[in-house]
């Protein structure tokens, strides 16, 4: 990708944008569960980006929620136990 970028950097912004973005968008697409399950061929970049943003936000929320739960769990067990260590690692 970098090579492509550098190669195309001189060509013009559009080339860089199109190719790279297309690839990146496709990669993103694969990561997104929603789009991946659908027909992924016709998803526009805008849609992918939008879905990515939404997905990241949802993941953030999930992480927060899980952290909360882990914290609560951590409170219920011995602080020295292995579980506690695990939990702490998870919570980071």
């Amino acid at each position: 990708m970098s090579s492509r970028r550098s190669r195309q950097s001189t060509a013009g912004v559009s080339r860089i944008s199109d190719d790279q973005i297309i690839e990146l968008v496709s990669k993103l697409q694969q990561l997104l569960p929603e789009i991946r399950d659908r027909r992924s061929d016709k998803v526009s970049a805008s849609k992918v980006l939008q879905e990515t943003c939404n997905y990241i936000r949802s993941l953030h929320r999930e992480v927060d929620d899980l952290s909360e739960r882990l914290s609560q769990l951590l409170a219920t067990i011995d602080a020295d136990s292995a579980e506690a260590a695990i939990i702490r690692s998870l919570i980071m």
Binding site: M1, L24, P33, C53, E62, L66, I86, M92
Partner: protein, 552 residues
């Protein structure tokens, strides 16, 4: 300055310094307007007559008409402005006002009698009408809780408090209150509006007072302050108009910023105008005020106009329409093609704008993303998304495992067996296996380090109910199958080496159920050696699984 109307002659006669009201402090009055200043000296109001000794009475508004009261107000206000120091000369002012009231008030009679009781202002300068003063004072005092506050602050406060409370119609009382409040306003920088500004005159008076106060602060700020102050004070009152008027007057007054007779005159005019809720343009300040106000809304309108314009600019329609219009303006033939091209360009631009917008949003979501390049930013987004997914997987597994970890006590070694299952699919974000205690034993998995979640799940907990965990793996399995995550897993799993170790204890202690559990996962992952109920086989499978997963 003698704004006083002939009717207010009496004021002069009484030589009550209008400014005295303002001069609450013990400081020597600043007779700038030639207004008598009442100096509160140790509880005694000493009136220093300035150029004119007109006792300005705030309350008279009620009784007097706008002009007169305004005049008085202006005078006092102007003087007050100069004073700047709002000291509580309330008693003094009250006295002064009272005196004025006395003079002019034929309504106060009943009340004044009551006021006479207090000799609070007995020491007022007004020897001419000590009786009047007394009643005034008394009235004021009555209105204000503490009748003889040395500094007048207390009475001011109380007066002010009372003023609103006692709007009621005791004219003299009200006047006193007004005066006191006015005094307070002077002192408190027009923070308080005279409560009983029931009449426009009163309002004007208040306005004037405030306006006078505001200049002290600053012409602009004062105005602004005055206005809100007025508004607040008058909120309780029924003088919305008064507030407006006051604001007008204040603004106008502040604009004039000159505590001069002329200014006062303007104020008076303004005050009068305010009555009609129109800045009366007699004074420049008054006119300025409306202009200032107009500019506000004008600015707002302009601002609003700009915003929608901006929005439109961003909106595709605007872009689309403008060129469209341009096209139409040209020749039709040429415009058609150009229009088409324009349309295309516009649509393309719109699309790009949308994408850019979303890229920006995405960039904001990604922490520590300092890339301005689209491609690099997308790369970072992809990596971040993967890491987030992993993290969520690990955490959810941990959450799921925690309750299962507890029973592990009867399987101490088992605890170690958590397998870091391979994350079959990076993007799936589905932990193959909840984190097992094994991890704790062998090492804590690094959530973000592409932890491979072992499809196996904690056996101890599922020892009895192996079915429980199955759903998870089975749930995960489809995901695993769908992705060729094996490769990425292999690459990403630094913990893999640990898996076999986990697997061993796992194998040893895990029972059939585990084998059963694993097989589905293993099978999902197309592990040939997955379904071996025997421990040995299970061990093999388990071991193979990780390896198999890794191999995948």
């Amino acid at each position: 300055m003698n704004h006083c109307v002939p009717d207010f002659e009496m004021e002069d006669d009484y030589s009550i310094p209008s400014s005295s009201i303002l001069n609450r402090a013990k400081k020597p009055s600043m007779p700038e307007d030639g207004i008598m200043e009442l100096l509160w000296q140790n509880g005694q109001v000493v009136m220093q007559s300035q150029n004119q000794r007109s006792f300005k009475k705030p309350s008279p508004f009620k009784y007097l008409d706008a002009g007169q009261s305004a005049l008085r107000e202006i005078r006092s206000s102007s003087h007050h402005q100069q004073q700047q120091q709002q000291q509580q000369q309330q008693s003094v002012t009250d006295h002064l006002f009272m005196q004025e009231d006395e003079m002019a008030s034929w309504l106060h009679n009943p009340l004044s009698d009551a006021n006479f009781d207090h000799d609070f202002c007995a020491d007022l300068l007004y020897p001419s009408s000590p009786t009047a003063v007394a009643p005034c004072v008394t009235s004021t005092a009555t209105t204000s809780a503490p009748p003889t506050p040395p500094l007048g602050r207390v009475p001011q406060v109380s007066a002010s408090a009372m003023v609103p409370a006692s709007r009621p119609p005791i004219p003299p009382a009200r006047r006193n209150e007004l005066e006191s409040t006015r005094i307070q306003n002077f002192g408190s920088l027009s923070k308080e509006q005279p409560g009983p500004s029931n009449s426009k005159s009163v309002a004007r008076e208040v306005t004037v007072v405030d306006s006078s106060d505001t200049p002290a602060v600053a012409p602009e700020s004062g105005a602004s302050q005055a206005m809100p102050c007025n508004t607040e004070a008058a909120s309780g009152e029924d003088n919305n108009n008064a507030c407006a008027n006051m604001s007008f007057a204040a603004v106008a007054y502040t604009q004039s910023a000159a505590v001069s007779v002329g200014a006062s005159k303007d104020n008076i005019a303004t005050c009068e105008a305010t009555v009609t809720s129109s800045p009366g343009g007699s004074s420049a300040s008054a006119s300025a005020e409306p202009t200032a106000q107009k500019t506000g809304p004008a600015e707002d309108r302009k601002r609003k106009g700009r915003e929608p314009d901006d929005a439109e600019c961003h909106s595709e329609d605007a872009e689309f329409e403008s060129p469209e219009t341009k096209k139409q303006s040209r020749g039709s033939s040429s415009t058609k093609r150009s229009r088409a091209a324009e349309v295309h360009n516009l649509s393309e631009r719109r699309r790009r704008d949308r994408i850019n917008e979303k890229m920006r949003a995405l960039q904001e979501l990604i922490p520590r993303c300092n890339k301005s390049d689209k491609a690099s930013m997308l790369d970072e987004a992809i990596e971040y998304l993967k890491s987030l997914q992993l993290q969520v997987q690990m955490m959810s597994m941990g959450c799921g495992m925690l309750p299962m970890m507890f029973p592990q006590h009867y399987m101490p070694t088992m605890g170690m067996g958590i397998g870091m299952g391979m994350v079959m699919d990076m993007g799936l974000s589905r932990p193959m296996m909840p984190f097992h205690n094994v991890m704790a034993g062998s090492g804590l998995p690094t959530p973000a380090a592409s932890a491979h979640l072992d499809p196996r799940f904690p056996m101890p907990a599922f020892h009895m109910s192996p079915q429980v965990p199955v759903p998870d793996p089975s749930r995960i399995q489809p995901n695993n199958q769908s992705d060729a995550m094996l490769n990425p897993l292999g690459m990403q799993n630094p913990n893999q080496p640990r898996i076999p170790s986990f697997a061993d204890p796992y194998q040893q202690y895990m029972g059939l159920h585990q084998m059963q559990l694993h097989p589905p996962q293993c099978q999902a992952t197309a592990q040939p050696s997955s379904s071996k109920p025997s421990n040995s086989k299970g061990a093999e499978n388990l071991e193979n699984h990780p390896s198999g997963d890794m191999a995948r």
